[in-house]
């Protein structure tokens, strides 16, 4: 009974954050901000949904934990690779104030 309630709460929180993450991808102005919103919100959303299902169905908990650990490790790595990749294709981050981009120097040196 308690497991059921906890599981339902976790799944609710998870799906709400998955939705907010997708909304963030839709609304943000450039690639890097989209990655920020997308990575954080969908990571917690997926973690919480998956573990919540584990609570609702206690004999599945081990495998769901394995999926959760895998998501927690793989998601930041892929977003980091995407951020680096899109910088190398020449996309500059959107800035309200100019000159807040310390990575540009590194890029310049590598071109030389």
């Amino acid at each position: 009974m308690i497991l059921n309630i906890v599981g339902n709460i976790l799944v609710t929180v998870g799906t709400v954050f998955l939705f907010l993450g997708a909304l963030g991808i839709f609304r943000m102005p450039d690639v890097y901000s989209r990655l920020q919103a997308g990575t954080k919100a969908t990571t917690l959303g997926a973690l919480s949904t998956v573990i919540g299902v584990g609570f609702l169905q206690p004999e599945w908990i081990w495998k769901t934990l394995l999926i959760a650990i895998f998501i927690a490790i793989s998601n930041p790595i892929s977003s980091h690779a995407l951020a680096r990749g899109s910088y190398k294709t020449g996309l500059k981050p959107y800035m309200k104030k100019e000159g807040l981009d310390s990575y540009a120097e590194v890029e310049k040196e590598e071109v030389k």
């Binding site: 799944v11 999926i67 793989s74 990749g85 190398k88 294709t89």
Partner: protein, 82 residues
């Protein structure tokens, strides 16, 4: 309750897919794709609970691993190191 979960996940997939369709550059589309795969990994586990089939969990695990490798490959390609 299950209807609410499914509606929220469908809405999430719609917004991410819209960004994938609209995205001005290739990177935007890949970011949307990356998030779509995470959303559908969680969605598959939830579907497994709804239909009471354990096999969906295995499918979602393998789907997660393969999509991670796929996104990494595309990122390396964007970087120009492939």
């Amino acid at each position: 309750m299950i209807y609410i979960y499914v509606i929220l996940i469908v809405l999430a997939i719609i917004f991410a897919a819209l960004r994938g369709l609209l995205g001005p550059t290739a990177s935007d589309r890949v970011v949307a794709l990356d998030n779509l795969t995470t959303i559908s990994t969680a969605g598959l586990v939830l579907l497994g609970f709804v239909f009471q089939r354990f096999i969906y969990i295995d499918v979602s695990l393998i789907y997660g691993v393969l999509s991670f490798v796929g996104v990494l490959t595309i990122a390396r390609y964007l970087e120009g190191g492939l």
